[in-house]
C-alpha cells in the first residue's frame, strides 16, 4: 500500500512540474523526496499503534505500564499462553463460521442484485438502491432491544445463526452498492458479443460478466469479511457463552481493576492475524478491485 501510494504521488508530482529541463530535474527530485518522506510519515503514523500493540503483547504486564514507555525489554510469550489458556479457539471458530457464511450469503444475494441493478436495469432501480442504503441509516443501537426480543422469541439468543443473519443483512446493502459500481464498468459490447454468440443469462453471467468483475467481487468479499470479523455490538448483545465471537472474547481482558494491556495486546494480535493473512493474500486483488470501481 505504501509503495503504491508513493509511486502515485511521485507520478503526480512529475506531472505537475512542467518547467525547463534542468530546474525540473532538481525540483522534481526534491519534490519527490519530500513526498516520499511525507508518505513514510503518514505510513508510520498509521502503523505505529499496531507496532506498539505487537511490542506490548511480548511484554510483562508491569513493563507495559511503565512511564516513560519502554522500548527495550525481555520479551516473553507468557501473554499468548494466557490468552490461549482462556479458550480462544471456540471464539475463533465461531467468528470464522459467522464470517464465512455471512459473506457467502452476501455474495449469493448480492451478485444477482447488483447485476439486475446495473447491467439489466429493472423497474424502480433507483428506488431499490435508495431502499438498500436506507437500511443503513438507523443506528444499530436504536434497534438492539427489538432485535434482542426477536432473537429471544425465535430461540436465537446465543446462537451463531443469529449473527450470520444479522451480518448478512448488515453487509448486503454495502456489497450491492459496491458491486453495482463494478458491474457498471463492464463494457456493453462484451455482453452484446456474448448474446450474439447465443449465450443465455446463466452462461453470460458466469462466463462473461463474472470474470471481468471478479476483482471487484473479491474486494467486496474481503470488506464483508473484515466487517463481520470486527463487529462487536451485535455480538456482545446477542451472544454469551456458546456463540461469542472474537471481539467479545477480546473485551473480556479489559478490567476496571488490575493490569491488562499486555494480555489484551496479545489477544488483539491473535484476533487480527486471520484478517491480516487473508488481506495479505488478497492485497493485489483488493487494490485492483478498489481502484476499478467507483470506490476509489
Amino acid at each position: 500500500m505504501t509503495a503504491s501510494t508513493a509511486s502515485t504521488a511521485s507520478a503526480a508530482s512529475t506531472a505537475l512540474t512542467e518547467d525547463p529541463p534542468r530546474a525540473r530535474g532538481r525540483r522534481g527530485r526534491a519534490g519527490r523526496a519530500a513526498l516520499t518522506t511525507l508518505t513514510w510519515v503518514v505510513a508510520v503514523l498509521f502503523v505505529f499503534p499496531l507496532v506498539w500493540m505487537v511490542l506490548t503483547s511480548f511484554k510483562q504486564e508491569a513493563d507495559a505500564y511503565t512511564d516513560p514507555p519502554r522500548l527495550f525489554f525481555t520479551p516473553t510469550l507468557d501473554q499468548f499462553a494466557r490468552v490461549l489458556d482462556r479458550g480462544f479457539l471456540p471464539y475463533l471458530g465461531n467468528s470464522a463460521f459467522v464470517t464465512v457464511l455471512s459473506t457467502l450469503f452476501v455474495l449469493l444475494l448480492g451478485v444477482p442484485a447488483a447485476y439486475a441493478l446495473s447491467l439489466a436495469p429493472v423497474r424502480g432501480t433507483s428506488n431499490a438502491l435508495g431502499f438498500f442504503l436506507s437500511t443503513k441509516m438507523l443506528p444499530i443501537v436504536a434497534a438492539i432491544i427489538p432485535l434482542y426480543v426477536i432473537a429471544q422469541n425465535v430461540q436465537l439468543l446465543d446462537n451463531v445463526w443469529a449473527l450470520v443473519v444479522l451480518y448478512t443483512a448488515m453487509n448486503l446493502p454495502l456489497a450491492i452498492w459496491m458491486m453495482r459500481s463494478f458491474f457498471l464498468e463492464v463494457p456493453k459490447e462484451v455482453i452484446e458479443a456474448g448474446q450474439m454468440d447465443g449465450a443465455r443469462l446463466p452462461t453470460l453471467l458466469l462466463r462473461v460478466v463474472l470474470p471481468v468483475v471478479a476483482p471487484g467481487i473479491a474486494a467486496t468479499a474481503l470488506i464483508c469479511v473484515i466487517f463481520s470479523w470486527t463487529e462487536f455490538f451485535y455480538a456482545v448483545n446477542l451472544t454469551s457463552a456458546r456463540a461469542g465471537s472474537v471481539p467479545v472474547f477480546l473485551v473480556g481482558f479489559i478490567t476496571s481493576e488490575g493490569l491488562y494491556w499486555a494480555q489484551l495486546s496479545a489477544a488483539a494480535l491473535l484476533a487480527s492475524l486471520p484478517v491480516v493473512i487473508v488481506g495479505w493474500i488478497a492485497q493485489n486483488y483488493l487494490v485492483r478491485g478498489l481502484s476499478m470501481g467507483a470506490v476509489k
Partner: protein, 454 residues
C-alpha cells in the same frame, strides 16, 4: 496484468480463502452447538479475583459431576448492560449473574431475582452470619438476601509513609479533608514528578462520581432531599465539588480529567503520587511486587471526613440468580461454592493470600496467613466496610439507598451526565458553578418524576 490472463488464476483465490476459512470453521460446530447435560452459564465481571475463580472452577465441576460451567466475562460496563438486558427481559441466557449492591435491591423489588434466603437457610455450613453486616444488608431486600457477596470494598486513603516522614508530616488515623488538602500542597513536587494526591476525574457514575459523592456526603451535601428535590446547587454540594475540583487541579495528577481507578493505580504504583483516595481493593495492587514500585511504603487510613463520623463508600460484587433460571439447585450450589469460606482458603493456598477476594466474610480477616499478607491494609479495609452506612456517612437523611451512588435506575444516566460536567470542570473547560447548574437541571428532571409518583 491484463484481465483475461489474470482472471483464471484469481477466480480461484476467493475459493481458496473460503476453503481455508471453512477448515478453520471445523471447530466452530463444537464451540457453537455443543452443551449436553446440565450446563450453567455464568455472567461475570472481568476483574482479577473473578478470573481466579474461573481458573479454579474445574474443582467445582469435579465435585459436581454432570454440571458444566460456562463463563461469559465482560468488562464492567458491558457486563452491566448485558446482564441488565437479559435479566429484565427474562432472556434466560444466564443461570448466575454477577451484580452489585446498586442493582440488587432494585431488581429484587422488580421481581427479577430469585429470593436466596431459603437456600441460604438450608445450607447451615454456609454461615451467612459471617458476612460483614453492612455488605449483607446492602444485598438484602425486605429482610431476605437476593445476592451473595463475592467481594466487597469501601474507600480509604493510601499515603506514602516515606514521603510523609521526609517532610516531617504525620498522618492522623482519621484525617479531615482540610488536613489532606494541606498535606497535598506540602507534598506536591512537580520537579520530582510526584503529585500531592491522586483523585479520579474520569467521567462515569462508577468512576469520578464515586469518590466525589463521598466528599459531598461528608461536607453535608446530598443529591436529593427527602422530597426528591435535587440539591446539586446547595451550598454544601457546591463547597464539596469546588473543594474536590480545586484539590485535584492544584495538587492532583496530570491529566486528571481522564484518570480513573486504573490510571490512578498505575501512577501511585509507579511512585508518582504521595496520596491516593480510592477503593480499598487498591491495596492489593499497591502491595504487589509484580506491578508496584512502592511495596511496603504505604500506610492506609480511613476515608477523610469533614462533618460526618465516616465517609467511606460501600460496594460489592455479588452473585444472584435470575428468576427464570432453570437449574436453580445447581446454580445455588455454584454460588455457594464461589462465596464460601472454603473458597477463600482455596484461593489463598493456590494463588497466594494477597489474591483472596476481600471484604465479604469476617472469618477471612481471622485467617493468620491473610493477616500476615495483608498486614498493612486488612484492618483499615474491614473497618471501612463495617462503618460504611448512610447513618455514619451522611449528615441528613436521603430517600434513596447507596452512599457513593443514588440507588435508582435513572442514576446510571444521570450520574454519567453529571460526571461529564464535573470532568469538564476538572479539565478547566467550565467553572464548577456552571457544571453544577447544568447538573442540577438534569437531576431536577429525575427528581420530578419521583415527586409525581409519590
Amino acid at each position: 496484468m491484463p484481465d483475461s490472463a489474470g482472471s483464471g488464476q484469481w477466480s480461484r483465490l476467493p475459493l481458496l480463502v473460503l476453503v481455508a476459512l471453512l477448515t478453520l470453521t471445523g471447530c466452530a460446530g463444537a464451540g457453537a452447538l455443543g452443551a449436553g447435560g446440565q450446563t450453567l452459564v455464568i455472567a461475570i465481571v472481568a476483574n482479577p479475583q473473578m478470573n481466579d475463580a474461573i481458573e479454579l472452577s474445574d474443582q467445582f465441576e469435579r465435585d459436581n459431576p454432570g454440571v458444566r460451567l460456562k463463563f461469559v466475562r465482560l468488562p464492567e460496563n458491558q457486563a452491566r448492560a448485558k446482564i441488565t438486558a437479559s435479566t429484565a427481559t427474562g432472556g434466560g441466557e444466564f443461570d448466575v449473574v454477577m451484580i452489585s449492591n446498586y442493582e440488587t435491591p432494585q431488581w429484587a423489588a422488580n421481581g427479577w431475582l430469585e429470593n436466596l434466603q431459603s437456600y441460604v437457610d438450608s445450607s447451615p455450613d454456609y454461615d451467612a452470619a459471617d458476612f460483614i453486616p453492612s455488605i449483607r444488608d446492602s444485598l438484602s431486600y425486605q429482610g431476605s438476601m437476593y445476592a451473595v457477596p463475592f467481594y466487597g470494598e469501601s474507600s480509604f486513603l493510601a499515603y506514602r509513609k516515606d514521603l510523609f516522614e521526609q517532610a516531617g508530616l504525620t498522618m492522623p488515623a482519621r484525617p479531615t479533608w482540610q488536613q489532606i488538602a494541606e498535606f497535598a500542597a506540602r507534598l506536591d513536587d512537580e520537579d520530582a514528578g510526584v503529585a500531592g494526591i491522586c483523585l479520579r476525574g474520569k467521567p462515569g457514575w462508577g468512576e469520578s462520581l464515586a469518590p466525589l459523592t463521598t466528599v459531598v456526603n461528608t461536607f453535608g451535601g446530598q443529591w436529593f432531599d427527602q422530597d426528591w428535590n435535587a440539591r446539586l446547587t446547595s451550598p454544601e454540594f457546591r463547597a464539596a465539588a469546588e473543594f474536590y475540583v480545586n484539590l485535584v487541579r492544584e495538587h492532583g495528577e496530570v491529566g486528571a480529567s481522564s484518570a480513573g481507578f486504573s490510571e490512578c493505580g498505575t501512577r501511585y504504583a509507579q511512585g508518582q503520587a504521595a496520596m491516593w483516595y480510592d477503593a480499598t481493593v487498591m491495596a492489593g495492587t499497591n502491595e504487589d511486587p509484580a506491578s508496584s514500585k512502592v511495596v511496603g511504603k504505604s500506610g492506609y487510613v480511613a476515608a477523610p471526613v469533614q462533618q460526618t463520623r465516616s465517609s467511606g463508600w460501600l460496594y460489592t460484587w455479588a452473585l444472584a440468580m435470575p428468576k427464570v433460571t432453570e437449574h436453580k439447585q445447581a446454580a445455588w450450589n455454584f454460588m455457594r461454592w464461589m462465596t464460601s469460606k472454603q473458597f477463600v482458603q482455596t484461593v489463598g493456598s493456590t494463588f497466594g493470600w494477597n489474591r483472596v477476594p476481600p471484604g465479604c466474610r469476617m472469618s477471612t480477616y481471622a485467617i493468620q496467613e491473610y493477616q500476615r499478607a495483608a498486614q498493612a491494609y486488612a484492618q483499615p479495609t474491614l473497618d471501612g466496610i463495617s462503618e460504611a452506612d448512610q447513618r455514619n456517612a451522611m449528615v441528613r437523611p436521603v430517600p434513596y439507598p447507596g452512599i457513593q451512588f443514588v440507588g435508582i435506575p435513572e442514576f446510571q444516566d444521570l450520574g454519567t451526565r453529571v460526571s461529564q460536567q464535573l470532568s469538564a470542570a476538572i479539565a478547566g473547560q467550565i467553572s464548577v458553578a456552571d457544571a453544577l447548574n447544568q447538573a442540577q437541571q438534569y437531576a431536577h428532571t429525575v427528581g420530578e418524576s419521583y415527586r409525581e409518583t409519590r
